[in-house]
Every structure is written in structure tokens, then in C-alpha cells.
């Protein structure tokens, strides 16, 4: 976001696109990241009581995505970026599960 191209065009607020992408896709992405941690993190999927930590992981990841999404130059970029990140994360999750 700090590269030269973005310096010329100021950030567009695009409140609705960014907020809804951040809320919905940010949550699904956080869920996938928590899931990846559950499967590949220490102890693996079956570690006792780990699920609590995995659940707690969702909120900070989700909230960081949501609160930093407004740094993205415009709404469409935020949306596509999150879509790609989601696709990657779920593909990885699918891989580690099988």
C-alpha cells in the first residue's frame, strides 16, 4: 500500500464494499486460518482442549482484517484481494485435511 502507484491516487473510502467484504470474507478467511492452525499447528487436530484456542484465534484475525481493510486503495481491490486469499486458504485447508 505504500508503493509509488498508490501515492498518486488517494484512497477511496468505499464504505459499503470494504465493510461488507471485511465482515463476511474477513470472517471466512479468519475461520480458514484458524482451521489451518488447528490441523497443522502444534499438537495437530486431536490435541485436547486445543479447540478453545482455535476458536479464540478467529476474532483477532477477523478484527485485524476488518480494521486494516480500509487501507486498501478501493473497494473492488479489497473484495478481490479477500476472495483470492479465501480461495488460497480454503485450498490449503482442504489439502491438509485430506
Amino acid at each position: 500500500m505504500e508503493n509509488n502507484a498508490s501515492k498518486k491516487t488517494p484512497i477511496r473510502a468505499d464504505w459499503w464494499t470494504k465493510t461488507i467484504s471485511g465482515l463476511v470474507l474477513g470472517f471466512t478467511l479468519a475461520l480458514a486460518i484458524a482451521g489451518l492452525f488447528a490441523w497443522t499447528g502444534p499438537g495437530g487436530i486431536a490435541a485436547p482442549q486445543k479447540v478453545q484456542f482455535v476458536m479464540w484465534l478467529i476474532t483477532p484475525v477477523w478484527m485485524l482484517i476488518l480494521s486494516l481493510i480500509y487501507l486498501v486503495r478501493n473497494g473492488v481491490r479489497a473484495l478481490t484481494g479477500l476472495l483470492i486469499a479465501n480461495a488460497l486458504a480454503y485450498a490449503l485447508l482442504f489439502l491438509v485435511k485430506t
Partner: protein, 533 residues
Amino acid sequence: MKIRSDILRVYQSLHTWVGISAGLLLFIGFFAGALTMFKQPLDHWVSPPTPSPTMASAQHIDSLALQALAQHPAARKGFTMHLGNHDNNAAIMSWTAGRPGRELDFSAKQWTATLDETGILQAKEELPSILAQMIDMLHRTGGIPGEIGDEYLGGYLMGVAGILYFLALISGVILLLPTMVKDFFALRPGKNRKRFWLDAHNIIGITSLPYHIVISVTVIVFAFHDQFYDSLAEVVYKNQPMFGAPPAAAVKPYEARDMLPLTSILNKVKAEAGDSTISEIQFFGLESLRPRARVALVNPRYLVQGPEAGYLTLHPYTGAVINASMLPGKESTWSAIVGPFFSLHFGSYGGDMMRWVYFAFGLSGAFLFYSGNLLWLEKRRKVQRPNQALPVQTLSTRLMAAGTVGVCLGTVAGVCFTLVAGKLFAATAKNINFVYLFVYYSVFLGALAWAYLRGAARSSVDLLWLCVIAALSIPCSSAFMALQTTSNTNITGLGVELVAIAMALAFIYAARKTDKRIKDEAKDSVWSLQTSA
């Protein structure tokens, strides 16, 4: 640190709008939350614990449980044995006839049983005052009624407020970064009152930032953990067991009379729990296939999972440990990582000192939202230009100003009067819990209505004086009740009265200042008498 101006603009709007949408609900949450740090002293202040007969030998709880289980079939479903009683050493056993649930039941009767001097069971059914739980409910839901599914609507709204609150924190920090070094700890009183409020807002926000981040994240988790677990089960775990295998079920239901004597359960717990103190044991499904005894253990040296205690679950018939993962100081790795998230929200570590720190943090949080709203109003002020007519302040500022005054002061006055009602009527009312509800909502809604009817400026003075009266009526009602009862009841200290008097003095100061302000204030302020119609 330099940040581009377009980023600052976006985050400025974000900060403003999330703050203004969530501020009032969060004010209620923080004020009531600060009080929940002292819910036991408040409960004792309202209805002083009746000194029970003292039959305090080590074995008396065995006899108490045996007699109660034999005589009261309802207790065989499950009961609680309270041990950590401050005023006497005798254990108290309690159970409810109905189904115990997560929700508040305002008219649930409760049985309590003790042993008298001769070792005979004394059981009585009464309607307990649930003031502490109701303050807790105000804290968790903001007092918003209604339910969705099994959960309170207010709880979900508080969760949404938690999300907005997190956004407000991050955006606030981003806004402050460029001028951090210059502005940090600069409190500039003087001519520019907006600058003063902004400095105060920033100092409180930055110095307690870690606390606020913890609170906002935990609020979101507490509100939505069911949905989070369901999503994880659906997407991540699928066929994997999430919570491990449940304890094996017995072949046939147990019978309460075969239960281990409580003393041997206690010995078992002491062997496991080290230097933690046992505060209570709760028995679930005593005559079912999977009976459990959940022991609450208090140890201020550790960060624990419950609001006050960590837990150890035992089998009440065999004494086998079912779950030791929440035992203070001996948690399993993952529980030990998760535990602090809970105790950092509840302030359940470090004992009474930390309680006061959390009380102060809670009030400072309430101040953060209140001052944030004031800044919003000041920013939207339409300034009167020289030689021009007085501008009309926008409807939204007038409504927001009245709402801020009404909600904030209404909550404070409502809670104070509810405490007083409890003090005066707890012993005589048919159902004190409905009295609490009635008093709180009439004061709160009355204050809100008054604020909108009279406008922000006039009503702020009126409502501040109402808060003075409300706070002063706390020590007055104590004195009144002390004169009424000739018996020398155990005085549990004057903490509640002293805090109330301090609050009253603060409100007197604020009321006098505000009264002066609304008369002197420039006519274009929303706080001026001239504009608040």
C-alpha cells in the same frame, strides 16, 4: 511517524462513526461492568447475610448433605455446597426445585439448608435477591430486553458493539500515530475546551489500550462463541471430535445415597488442587448416568477461566478426576493459554487490588465513550459568525446530545436507586427482583425521556442533580435501615457508602459546573440554554 492524509481522513470518519454508534451501549456495559467487580459486597450491602447457626466441625457437611438428600428429593437432581463463606464457617447447601438454566429467572425459588447447633437440618425455601446477577446482566446486555434463540438480543448487540469498539481502537491509534510524541501526556486546559477533552480522551485511550483491546476481543468472543464453534465444526473439524470424548456413561443411573461423603471428595480435591481454596462444589445430574461434581477453586495467584474461580470436575461416586484442565496453576497447555483471556476480562486475578484497578479501568472506559460523544458534538457545532444570526444546531447533534446525557446519567441514577430499593425493600417485598426491574427501567427511561423533552443543556443539570440524590440516598438508606433494626447486624464495612459519597461529591461538582456553563456558554453551543429548546 508520518501517515498519508487520505488514510487519516478515512480512519477519522471510521473512528467517528463506529464510536458514535457503539458509544452509549458500551458506556452502560463499562459502568455496570465496573460495578460487577464488587457484586458480592453490593449483594451483602443490600441484604446482609443472615448469620446462620454454627455447627462447624469437619464432618458437619457430610451430615448436612446426607440429611438434605434424604429429606428433599429435589436436591438429588443437583445441588451446590457453598464453603468459602466469609462470615461463618458453616457450609450452606442450596438447590432449586425447577430446572436450572442459563437465563435469569426473576421468580425462581431456592432452597437453602444448614445444620443448627444440634446437628439437625434446617431447610427453607425462599426467593433470593438476584441483584448481583441483574447488574451482571445489565453489563452483558446493556439492559436491552428480548431473546434470539437461547441467547439475549442485548448480548448479540453488545457483541456488535464490541466489533465497532475494536475498529474504534485501531482507527484511534492510527489517528494518534502522527502526533503521538507531541500529544502524548499533553493535557492542555485553557481556552480551547475541545482540545482539553481531546487530550483527555487520548491519554485515557492510549494508556489503557491493551486493556481495551482485550475487552473488545473477549466481548466479541463471549457474544458469538456458539456461532464460532458451529462454524469450526462445519468447516474445520467435521468428523473430528472437538471437545474430546465425553466421560463414559454408567450402565444404570446412580442413586444419591451411594455418593461419596463430601469430606472424602474434599480431601481428594485438596490433594489435586494444592494451595487453592475451595469455594463451592456444584453437583450435576446426581442420579443420572453421567454425574459430575464441579469444584470451584479460588487462587488469586493464577489466571483462571471463571469470573472468580478455576474448576476441577470429579466423579461424585468414584472420586475419579473427570476434567482437571481448568485447575488453577495446573491447566493443560492449551487451557493455560486460553485461561488468561477470560481472567483478563473478568479481572479475576491479583485479588482485591486488581478489583479496584479493574473498577477504575471500567470507569475510565465509560469516560472514553462519554468524552468521545462530547467531541463528536463539539465538532459538529455550527459556529456563530460575527454579526450574523444564531445558527440552528442540526437535529442530529441535539438528539445525540440529549441521548448522551439521558443514557449515561440515566444508567448511573437507575443503578443507584435500584440499590437503594433493594436495601429498603429486600426483606419485605413479595418479589424484590421485580422491584429492581421496575425501579431501574423507570429511572432510566424517565431520565432519557426527560433529556429529550428538556433538551441536552437543561436536562444535563437536572439529571446531574438526580444522580447526586441517587448517590446520596445510598448512605441514607443504610442509616435508615441501621436505625430500623435494633439488632446489631454484622457491619461489612462502609465501602459502598464511601464510594457513593465520593460519587455524590463528584456529581455535585459536575452539576454546579454545568449549571454555570449552560448560562455562560456561547449561544452557538449545543450546551447553551438558548439553543436547547
